[in-house]
Structures are given as structure tokens and as C-alpha cells.
């Protein structure tokens, strides 16, 4: 604990001394996650990957996580962010609920996959952006290395959503899956949908090994709308799924 506080103090003083310099880390705000990552948060100026779900699994949580990270980066560095994607169905008010306002988001819609990768590389080299997110089907090792080096030089964080198994060059690789929520606190909404819950898996992290499941770590997190923060729910143990209760008509 003391070591982490010292490091945070050092960063804070360094930021005070040279105001133009970008901070090096984006903390998640969850102590377990920040403590597990060797940098104390998500390192900036690097390539990170988020795995897109395969098959029919819903991709809402993935987009939510990316929107949350982009929103925090945009607010931390007060610069716009760019999203390179061929999908047309991103909904701005939903993204705004994660802290990514519409006036900080630029969208680029490439016509072909190769154009998308090229646009992503160019955007990562632009120091006027806080972060860049991209939908890339497969990121091969060469492209991943180029992106990582470009991000390191310019200080722009690159978040790439891929279907593949990962280029191995990313600092961290995440996977998000939906998890059943619990009822909100209000007693009358006993069966309503609670806060968004995700099963957040850190598949691969540099300088950290993997556990017996082949992933580095896994957490169950919850997004709180009012405070715009992530909260840790519990480390999922080995228990069977609780059957959800049925809706009954009143009376």
C-alpha cells in the first residue's frame, strides 16, 4: 500500500512541475484492479486490446468499456478522441452516459479494412488526440508493433477491438462479458434492471503471468450511473448460477 501511494505522489508532483506533460496512467478507480496492474492503472501512450465476443454473444459490454475508457481519457487530457469503425449503430446518448460527450468524439468510417488500419495508424500519430479506438478484425504482429511504437512516440493511447487472438504486442488485453445484475435499491423496483454488471477479464498483461484459467485476472464490476464510477462487486467463486425470479403480475 505504501509503495503505491509513494508512486502516485511522485506522479502528482511531476505533473505539477511540468504542466504540459501528459500523465502516464489512467487509474480505473477500483483498488483491486489498480493494485493488480503493475503501473497502477491503464498505461497511456500504448496499445491495448479489447476482445470482441465471437458468435452471438452480445457486444454491448465491450462498447461500454471502451466508451468509459475513452471518456475518462478525453476528460483527463481535455482533448478529443477518435473512433475508427465501420459500424453505423453507435448511439451517442448511450456513450454520453459513460462520460464520453458527443462534442469530444470524432468518428471515422473507412470503406475497407485496410483503410481502417491506415486511418488508425495516422490517428495514433496525431498528438492532438487523447486516445483512438478502432474496430479491427485481425491485428497481425507487424501492425500491432507499428501501432505500439507510434502510440509510445506520440503519447496517444490506442484501444483496438479485435476478433483475433491478440498480437502479443499489447500492454494489456481485456475481455468483457455481460453478467446478470441485481435489483436496484428501491424496493418498488424489485425486479427492475440494476446497474450494469460486467465480468471483466484481464486476459493478458505484460509483466504479469497467467493463472490456472489461462487469464491474468478476472473481476466482477458494476457501473454506477450517478457517480460515473466502476465498483467491484465480488470475485466470482465457484457457484452455480442463481435462477432469476419470474415476473408476477401484481396482485
Amino acid at each position: 500500500m505504501n509503495k503505491m501511494t509513494l508512486a502516485q505522489l511522485r506522479d502528482h508532483i511531476a505533473a505539477l512541475e511540468s504542466p504540459g506533460r501528459r500523465p502516464a496512467v489512467l487509474p480505473f478507480g477500483v483498488a483491486e484492479i489498480d493494485g493488480f496492474l503493475p503501473w497502477g492503472g491503464l498505461p497511456l501512450g500504448a496499445l491495448h486490446e479489447v476482445a470482441l465476443p465471437t458468435g452471438d454473444a452480445p457486444d454491448g459490454p465491450t462498447l461500454g468499456l471502451v466508451a468509459m475508457l475513452l471518456g475518462r481519457l478525453a476528460r483527463q487530457q481535455e482533448r478529443p478522441v477518435l473512433w475508427v469503425s465501420r459500424r453505423l449503430d453507435l448511439y451517442a446518448p448511450g456513450l454520453a452516459a459513460f462520460g464520453l460527450p458527443a462534442d469530444r468524439l470524432l468518428m471515422v468510417q473507412p470503406g475497407r479494412a485496410a483503410e481502417g488500419l491506415m486511418a488508425l495508424e495516422d490517428a495514433v500519430r496525431c498528438p492532438g488526440l487523447a486516445a483512438v479506438a478502432g474496430d479491427i478484425w485481425e491485428l497481425d504482429a507487424t501492425a500491432g508493433r507499428r501501432l505500439h511504437l507510434a502510440a509510445r512516440d506520440s503519447g496517444v493511447t490506442a484501444l483496438v477491438m479485435t476478433h483475433g487472438t491478440g498480437a502479443g504486442r499489447a500492454m494489456t488485453r481485456w475481455r468483457v462479458a455481460a453478467a446478470p445484475s441485481v435489483a436496484p435499491a428501491h424496493p418498488a423496483a424489485r425486479l427492475g434492471v440494476g446497474a450494469w454488471r460486467w465480468s471483466l477479464t484481464l486476459v493478458h498483461c505484460r509483466n504479469r503471468g497467467r493463472d490456472e484459467n489461462g487469464v491474468a485476472a478476472r473481476w466482477l464490476v458494476e457501473w454506477q450511473d450517478e457517480t460515473h464510477r466502476l465498483g467491484l462487486v465480488a470475485v466470482p467463486g465457484d457457484r452455480s448460477a442463481v435462477p432469476g425470479s419470474r415476473y408476477r403480475a401484481a396482485g
Binding site: G20, P58, L63, P93, A97, A102, M107, V108, E115, S181
Partner: protein, 481 residues
């Protein structure tokens, strides 16, 4: 050919010497000269070539136009001194056009009509009619120099009027009563009493600059260096006019009388020559110089006002606070570069609007359109809280699902979407959203946020209410995170 007979439209010098004239039938001509080479006349292609030549002559004056048939008009008032005088200008023009392979006759005079007449019927050794003193020379020209219809020309010849002097001596009323007003009008045009306006092939007030090379260049480095110098000159001109360029065109005139054009656009008006050169550098690499480029022309086709103070953010390079300004400049450069490569309509941003219907609450705008932020502060009311939660993905067309729901307005118990059954464990709603009151044909929608047993969350709506007869339909409109 009118009447179905084939006639000669034009002949070259060798054919003229052999006695052929335009207008003869092909059969007669071939009977006289069996070794005649024929080519089909293409008036459209000829006119296009004439337009191209007119554009190549824009380096002499901004008012250059292609006339009909084989005429090229250039208004050189005030421009001749730039090339050392009228005679050197004419010499240069003739040399260039003959190098292309054309036979040229030129003349300079006070009025368009006089220039036309002197070019065709005047003395080739003295193509420049001195200003104000050409009257005596013009009076001796034949009547054909007045651009009259052949019928009127024949009529004048039958009456014995063969020169312009003879026509000038007659009273104007007599000519008008016999031949109409056209003879008098042509005479006025000849003497310059009536204006004959020119419509130039390119707008005359577009900022443009030309660079001609003593020897044709072909190497990409040379072309790039010349383009950079021309950009600097153009940007200085734009600064004087307080304008910025939105669309720039570089035209390369090659020695084989063809032209290659490159166009680049910017999202915002700019006159930063470095930025524009970077945008041009990419298409310049693909420019095919052929046998050589003899002239480069740079034109700002679309300009917009750009005041001086808006440029200050690109000039500041001092200290730490320039970080934000440099970032803004880098972002503008990135947007322009991506826009030129992918198309400016592919760079978009979202603008929130005041509408209850979710698909109308957001609009995608291309970056260059519509400056100004959200529309009337709609973002505060929509995201979370008051209006209810919104999904991160909204389908463009809501997908029909089959849902089982207790009546009248309870959330569904299960629904089938894309051949998969989802059992609902939790649900929120209904949230009734209706369109604007002036769109009467749309029905109200009751939206529900439902979660299935795997934790996936969906935004469903039921269209219309159950009113005892029809079963309302259910749709899936979005995916929650």
C-alpha cells in the same frame, strides 16, 4: 453532313496547295487526288481541345476563352507588359502553339471584331494593329472580315460593296432596311463602339498562379519544388484578400497538349502553405509527367473568408501553452488528410437534437458541416436520469421480434430474436416515447429495458397499445452495455 453527302470540313496546307477547298464533296476531292487521307470530323472533341488550349493560355491573361470553330480569344489589356510587350507575347504564344502542332494566325487589336478580321485578312508580318491607328488598315479589308452570313455576304457582293470602306460610306438606315441590323452591329463591333464581352473559360477572379518552364520537366522532385513555390505565392495572394482556400487544383500541362489535374480539399479554409503542400504531396507522387510538363497551374477553386486573427493559433510555437495549439493544428491536419483519402463524408460527429424518438435524437454530421455544438441543450435531458437509460447501440432499423407478454402493458416474459430465445429475468419500463405531434401516422412506442438470464440487456419496444383487436408488434431497437 447535311443532305447526306460527305463534305470536306477542313484541309491542311498541302491540300490547299493542291487546290482543295473546304465545302467540296469528298467524291470530287478524291477524284482529283486519289491519295487523299480522310479523317472523320469530331466537333465535340475539337471544342474540348479548344477549351484546353484556352486554359493553357490562361498564363497570359485571366480572360481567355474558346470561341466557336477555331477561334481563341484572349483579352490582354494590361497584361502585355508582364511578358515584355505585345510582340514578345505573340511570339511566345505562336511558338507554343506551333510546338503543339497547330498552324496559328494571331492578331492584336483594340476590339474583338478588329482582331478577328486582322487575324484572317490582315498582314501576317504586322499582327499588332497600333492602338487607335488601325482604322486605315481595317478600311481596306474585304467584307468577309465582318463575320457576316454567307447569304448577306453574297448580297453585298452583288451590289458591288466589296470592302469595309464602301460599307462605311453608306448611310446606316439604308443598310438596315436592306439587310437588317446585323451589318450595322458588326461594323460597330469592328470599330469598338459596341462591347463584345468575353466569357472566360475559368472564373477570372479565382486566385491562380502559373509557372512555365524553359525546358519540360519530368522528375517528381522538380514538380514538387515548383508546386511548393507556387503555393507560397498563392498563399500570399490569399492573405492579401483575407481568404482561405477550401479546394485547390493543380493542373499540369504536358508537352503533348494534354492536361493532368489534381484536386485536394480541406475541411476548413486555410492558407497554410506547408499544410497544403503536405496534402498535395500524396497525389503528386502519382502524377504522370508523360514526355514532360511545360507549365504548372495552381488555382484556388473554392475560397472562403479567413480573417487574420484565426491564423494566430498556427503561428504560436512558444513554450508549453502552445501544446494545445499544436494539438489543434495536428488534429486539423489529420482530419484533412483522412478526408482527402477516404472522403470528407466519412468523418462525422454526433449532434444531439431535441426529439423524443431515439432515432431522431441524434444526427451524424460530416465534420465540415454546421459548426456549433448541440442543438438547444438537448444533451442534459436525454442521457440518463430524467429520460431513462439509453443503449450504446441503436439499430438503424428496429428488428422485429416475437415476444410473449402479459396484457396490457407488462414487459415481455420471453422473446425470440434471430432464432434465439431469450428468457427475461429482469425488466424496466414502460417508457412511452412518441414522435412529434405533427407526424400523425406514427404510433406511440412503449420501451422496455430487459435483461435475460445470461445478463445480456436489450431495449425492446411495443408499437402501439393493445386496444382489443389487433395484437401489437414488438421490436428490438438497441443493445445496452
Amino acid at each position: 453532313m447535311p443532305g447526306g453527302t460527305r463534305r470536306l470540313a477542313a484541309v491542311n496546307r498541302a491540300a490547299l496547295d493542291a487546290g482543295l477547298r473546304p465545302g467540296e464533296t469528298v467524291a470530287d476531292a478524291q477524284a482529283r487526288l486519289p491519295a487523299l487521307c480522310l479523317a472523320t470530323a469530331e466537333p465535340a472533341a475539337e471544342q474540348a481541345l479548344l477549351e484546353h488550349l484556352a486554359e493553357a493560355c490562361l498564363c497570359y491573361s485571366p480572360m481567355a476563352a474558346a470561341g466557336d470553330e477555331t477561334n481563341l480569344w484572349i483579352d490582354i489589356s494590361g497584361c502585355a507588359h508582364l511578358l515584355g510587350g505585345e510582340i514578345p507575347l505573340l511570339r511566345d504564344l505562336v511558338r507554343r502553339l506551333t510546338r503543339y502542332g497547330f498552324t496559328v494566325r494571331v492578331a492584336v487589336a483594340d476590339s474583338a471584331g478588329a482582331a478577328w478580321a486582322w487575324a484572317r485578312f490582315g498582314d501576317p508580318a504586322h499582327p499588332c494593329l497600333p492602338a487607335g491607328e488601325g482604322r486605315r488598315a481595317l478600311l481596306e479589308l474585304p467584307v468577309a472580315a465582318l463575320r457576316l452570313d454567307p447569304a448577306i455576304g453574297d448580297g453585298l457582293r452583288h451590289l458591288g460593296l466589296k470592302t469595309v470602306a464602301a460599307l462605311e460610306a453608306l448611310p446606316r438606315a439604308a443598310l438596315a432596311s436592306r439587310f437588317g441590323d446585323v451589318v450595322g452591329a458588326r461594323l460597330d463591333q469592328l470599330w469598338g463602339r459596341v462591347d463584345e464581352p468575353l466569357s472566360p473559360c475559368r472564373p477570372a477572379d479565382q486566385p491562380r498562379t502559373y509557372r512555365r518552364f524553359a525546358e519540360p520537366i519530368g522528375r517528381a522532385d522538380d514538380v514538387a519544388a515548383a508546386a511548393r513555390q507556387m503555393l507560397a505565392a498563392l498563399c500570399q495572394d490569399l492573405e492579401r484578400r483575407q481568404q482561405g482556400v477550401r479546394r485547390l487544383e493543380l493542373a499540369a500541362f504536358r508537352v503533348d497538349a494534354t492536361c493532368r489535374r489534381l484536386t485536394v480539399g480541406t475541411g476548413r479554409p486555410t492558407r497554410d502553405s506547408l499544410h497544403l503542400f503536405r496534402l498535395l504531396a500524396e497525389p503528386l507522387g502519382t502524377l504522370d509527367a508523360g514526355f514532360g510538363i511545360e507549365m504548372l497551374g495552381l488555382a484556388a477553386q473554392a475560397v472562403a473568408p479567413l480573417a487574420a486573427e484565426q491564423m494566430s493559433w498556427s503561428l504560436g510555437r512558444n513554450g508549453g501553452e502552445a501544446g494545445a495549439e499544436e494539438g489543434g493544428l495536428a488534429l486539423a491536419v489529420l482530419c484533412d488528410s483522412l478526408g482527402n483519402r477516404l472522403g470528407f463524408e466519412r468523418l462525422t460527429r454526433f449532434v444531439l437534437r431535441q426529439s423524443h424518438l431515439p432515432e431522431r435524437a441524434v444526427r451524424r454530421l460530416a465534420l465540415g458541416q454546421g459548426d456549433g455544438g448541440t442543438d438547444g441543450g438537448a444533451d442534459g435531458a436525454v442521457a440518463g436520469g430524467v429520460a431513462g437509460r439509453r443503449p450504446v447501440r441503436l439499430f438503424e432499423r428496429p428488428e422485429a421480434v416475437e415476444a410473449v407478454a402479459p396484457l396490457p402493458d407488462a414487459p415481455p416474459l420471453l422473446f425470440r430474436w434471430r432464432h434465439q430465445i431469450h428468457r427475461v429475468t429482469r425488466a424496466e419500463g414502460p417508457e412511452r416515447l412518441s414522435g412529434e405531434w405533427w407526424r400523425r401516422d406514427e404510433r406511440d412506442r412503449d420501451y422496455y429495458c430487459v435483461e435475460d438470464d445470461a445478463g445480456a440487456r436489450f431495449w425492446l419496444y411495443r408499437e402501439g397499445a393493445y386496444d382489443g383487436q389487433a395484437i401489437p408488434r414488438w421490436f428490438l431497437h438497441g443493445i445496452f452495455p
